[in-house]
Structures are given as C-alpha cells and as structure tokens.
C-alpha cells in the first residue's frame, strides 16, 4: 500500500492540529467515525442505564425534597442520553441501531452501574463519587475534536455539577446524623470508592483505544491523569465529613503535589466489565423489557402518525 494522503486527509489533519472542530459534514477517516460512534453511544447508554440504580430509590426516598431532587436528577440523566444519541446520529447511525447493539451486547455502558444501589447512602455516593468522576472526564471532553460531542458535553457539564453537589449533600446529612446514618454513609463510601476510580478505565499503557483517541483528540487527557484529578479533589471532601476512604496507601505526596493512592484491583475490574458484576444481567434485562413492553405503544404512535398524513 502506498501511503498517499488525499486532500481530504490533509484537511482533516490540519483541523485536528489547529484545534478546529470536526463537523458532521466534514470528511473524516472511517476509523475516526467508528471510534466516535463507539464512544458516544457507550456514553449515551451509560446515562440511560444509570437511571436504574438511582431509580431503585425513587419510590423510597426518605423525604419529599429528596424525592423531587432525585427524580429531577434521573430525568437529567435521561436528557443527557438524548443529547448523546443525537450527537451519535450525526455520524450516520440511528438510535434504534445503537439500542439494538446494546441489547445484543455489542455496545457497552459504564461498568459502575453493574453495582447495586442497596441503601439510601448509595444515592449520595453515586451523586458525589460517580457523577463526580463523570464530571472530571466530561470537562476534559468539552474539548473533544468532534463538534456535536463537544457541544453535548458543555450542556451536560452544567447539570452534572448540581448532581455532584446534591449527592455530597446527602452524604453530609448522613454524616451529621445518628450512628445508623453514619454507618450507612461509611458503608457506601467503602463500596463505591474503588468502582469510581475504575470508571477512568485501565492504566494508559493498557487502554485499548487510548493512544489513537488521543492522537485524534477525541480523548484529551489520559485515564491516569483524570483519575489523579478525581482523587485529589475528592479526598478533602471525604475528610471534611469524617468518612474514611478504604485505601491504606492513600496519602498526600508533598513532592508530587498530589495524593498517592493504592492500585486498583484489576481482576475485579475485568470481572465486572466482562459481565460478572452483581447487576450486569439485571440492568440489560430491565432495558430490554421496558423496550419490549413499549413496542405496542411505539407501534400505535407510528400508525397514528401515518394516518394523520394527508393522502397516506
């Protein structure tokens, strides 16, 4: 094969170098497009599947105020799913195809949602830690090279910071509460800490898509960098409310200006990613069931719409 550059390729590379956004009508390498479809759809599915663990507490939220905040939060996540599906659709795929890929196990979603939300404190921990980790990643993605994805991230980041604050507020209330509430908060901290760190993915050296994504500026910062940022911002928040982070190696490193922390249990990470988390089957089955239960409604919608067309 000769390594000849077309004008299109040169143009594409110039834009990437100049930090200009690639737009849907621009020429792009097929591998760039595929990489984006994979990443954006995975991101969209994560928003939507993430509605389930939080929804598990919607009907049991401990106060009316918390119920309303949680419902609005879950609704925001669904909205994020919509923006992201739309961003993916600009790359020539349909939402139906993406959902089908999810149902057939060809598309992934964030593995963190394969853990169960078993207590109310988990709702606090999810908002504080899971949304907190998501924000760190999404802030960096505001500068991603694909225009529609970058713009979706800007909208999403605005809402995510509310989620993180509200989650932390739940933890604050529990930490100020009685012994049972404090224990609930600490237990959630212990169960969600490591999975939150895993959200940033494998070490840079082992990350399958990382290197190419960085070159194309789809990804702007490495997994390890982002993870460090999250640890640095979260440790003082945990300390402020008297929660203990379950990591004996965690300590401030004056020389680095960062916290040192222990290594992730990568066996656990791989186990959950490959389908052996506590809720993998449940999450997918729930999504499939809602989709199948709704088929007759969607059929009615299209039948009715077809009738409303004049001369149809």
């Amino acid at each position: 094969m000769q390594n000849t550059h077309t004008d299109f390729e040169t143009q594409f590379e110039r834009k990437i170098d100049a930090e200009e956004k690639i737009e849907p009508k621009d020429w792009m390498p097929e591998a760039y497009r595929k990489n984006l479809v994979r990443q954006i759809s995975q991101h969209a599915h994560s928003e939507v599947i993430g509605m389930q663990p939080e929804g598990n507490w919607l009907t049991r939220a401990p106060s009316l105020k918390r119920k309303c905040i949680l419902l609005a939060k879950i609704q925001d996540e669904g909205g994020h799913g919509l923006y992201l599906y739309s961003a993916a659709e600009t790359l020539g795929v349909t939402r139906e195809e993406l959902v089908e890929a999810l149902h057939e196990g060809r598309a992934k979603y964030a593995s963190i949602f394969n853990y169960p939300a078993v207590t109310w404190a988990d709702i606090g921990a999810i908002g504080w830690l899971v949304d907190g980790a998501a924000i760190v990643n999404q802030i960096s993605l505001q500068r991603t090279s694909y225009g529609p994805y970058a713009r979706a991230m800007v909208r999403i980041c605005k809402e995510e910071s509310f989620h993180q604050r509200q989650g932390y507020e739940i933890m604050v209330k529990l930490a100020e509460g009685n012994a049972a509430q404090k224990a609930m908060a600490q237990d959630a901290m212990e169960r969600w800490w490591w999975p939150s760190l895993m959200m940033f993915g494998p070490h840079d050296a082992e990350s399958a898509h990382s290197a190419q994504s960085m070159l194309w500026k789809i990804k702007r910062q490495s997994n390890d960098n982002l993870r460090q940022k999250f640890v640095d911002q979260t440790v003082p928040q945990a300390e402020a409310i008297g929660l203990t982070i379950p990591d004996k190696d965690l300590k401030w490193n004056e020389a680095r200006g960062h916290y040192d922390f222990g290594d992730i249990d990568w066996d656990e990470f791989n186990r959950v990613v490959s389908g052996n988390g506590p809720c993998n089957r449940q999450r997918l089955q729930h999504h499939v069931k809602a989709h199948e239960d709704g088929a007759w409604v969607r059929d009615a919608m299209s039948a009715y719409a077809a009738r409303q067309q004049p001369n149809a």
């Binding site: 009316l64 919509l82 009685n178 509430q181 729930h286």
Partner: protein, 256 residues
C-alpha cells in the same frame, strides 16, 4: 367563642389542603414508577415532568397545612397510615400498562382543568395562588394525555383494545371526583372550596366526546366505588405507603 370557631375552620382548611395534597402525592408516587420503564426515552422524561409537578403540588399544599397547624410536610407524607390518607381511589390504583396510566391521567387532568380553574377564585388567597400555578401545569398535562388518548384509541388494534380495557376498569372510579362531603361543603359555603358536582356535566361532555372520537365506548353498566375521602381505600394504598414510608418508619425522626 369566636376563637373556637376560627380554630375549627383552620383545622378544616388544613384538612382540605392535606387531602388535595394527598391526591397529588399519591399520583406523583405512582408516576415515579415509570422512571426507566416508559415506551420511549422521551416519554420517560415527560412522565417524570408530570410526576415532578404533582410532587411539587403536594409539597405546596402540605406546606400550607403545616403553616396552619404546625408539623412538617414529611410528617404528613411519611407518618400517616392508610386510614389517615384522604386521597381519591383513582390515584392510588397500580400503574397498570401505559394505556391504563394515560387514561387515568386523562380522566384526572380533564377534571383538574375545571377544578383548579374554579379554585383560582377561592376566597382563600393561598389556595387561589396554588390553583393559579396548578392551572398552568394541568394545561400541559391535559394536552399530553389528550394526545395520547387519540393516539392509542386510533393507533393499532392492540392499543385500541388496551385503552378500551383501561376505560372499562377505571370508569367506576370517576364518580368519586364529583363527591362532596361535609368538610368540603362547609368550605364551599365560604367560597373557599369548589363544588365538585357543578363540574360533572362539563367534564362528562368533554370526556365522552374525546373517547368517542377515539373509538372508545364508555361503559354503560353503572358501577362505582368511593371512600378515599373517608380514609377507606383499596388494598393497593397500603403497599404504596409501606414502600414510600420505609425510610422514615425505619429511622424515625432523622434528617436526610
């Protein structure tokens, strides 16, 4: 003795606010059950919007009741038993399928559209203000549920059949919308509450017109159940409450 009368009146007013709040809370709770279960993602978000309106309305009304007689909105929501709840039976019924949920919503939206419009004229300024805010929300709810009745009624054979089944199942709960007990009668005399019976003709006309335009027949056998306003509920309410109240019952008196 005039103080005695005022106290009684205040208590009546608080109870009235609480029962309207109960209607809103219980339906809001039912609508929450649709989260991540709706037929489309768009509809999931729309149902959440409606649920948020109902929960917000419950909080306004409970807030008014607690202004009158102390306590907190959470005490009202989470520490009362089945017999103390005074919501309409219609709102406590399990969510059923999407046709059932939308028909219930439509029957209630069509009623609330008339009811809250009239309640904006209440001589009680707080209730009038709550009604004014609610009217705008109901306008959106009613437009949505009206659209869905048409779509489902005229969509496919299956959607039509499901909507017809829902109508057959729910029709017996509508009379309760128009019942007035002595508590409300007292408030009606002072132009604080709205006489529900006055709304029945307009409601019937509107609802039967839409249903027949959507090929749905209104059941002719006159069966009707009521009792919510007397705290006599279906067996479903207890389960709804035990789920909703679990945290406050397990950890009484804590802050969240």
């Amino acid at each position: 003795m005039s103080e005695q009368i005022d106290t009684n009146n205040a208590d009546t007013l608080a109870r009235f606010a609480i029962r309207l709040g109960d209607d809103a809370l219980i339906l809001g709770q039912r609508l929450c059950e649709w989260s991540s279960n709706a037929p489309t993602l768009e509809e999931d978000l729309a149902l959440s919007n409606v649920a948020l309106d109902f929960l917000g309305r419950a909080r306004m009304l409970y807030g008014y009741a607690t202004q009158i007689r102390g306590g907190s909105e959470d005490e009202l929501a989470f520490t009362r038993d089945e017999r103390q709840y005074e919501n309409l039976l219609l709102v406590e019924l399990p969510r059923g399928d999407f046709a059932y949920t939308m028909l219930r919503q439509y029957l209630l939206d069509a009623f609330e559209d008339l009811y809250f419009a009239a309640l904006t004229q209440s001589t009680d300024p707080t209730l009038a203000a709550v009604a004014a805010k609610t009217v705008k929300e109901v306008d959106y709810h009613l437009r949505r549920s009206t659209d869905w009745i048409r779509r489902l009624g005229l969509g496919t054979e299956e959607s039509h059949q499901r909507l017809q089944n829902a109508t057959d199942e729910l029709w017996g709960y509508v009379d309760e919308l128009f019942e007035t007990d002595t508590l409300e009668q007292g408030l009606i005399k002072q132009n604080i509450a709205v006489d529900r019976a006055d709304l029945q003709t307009a409601w019937c006309k509107r609802v039967t017109e839409l249903l027949s335009a959507s090929n749905i027949s209104v059941p002719e056998t006159p069966w009707q159940v009521s009792g919510g306003r007397r705290g006599l509920h279906t067996e479903h309410l207890g389960h709804l409450l035990s789920e909703m109240q679990y945290m406050q019952r397990a950890h009484p008196g804590q802050q969240w």
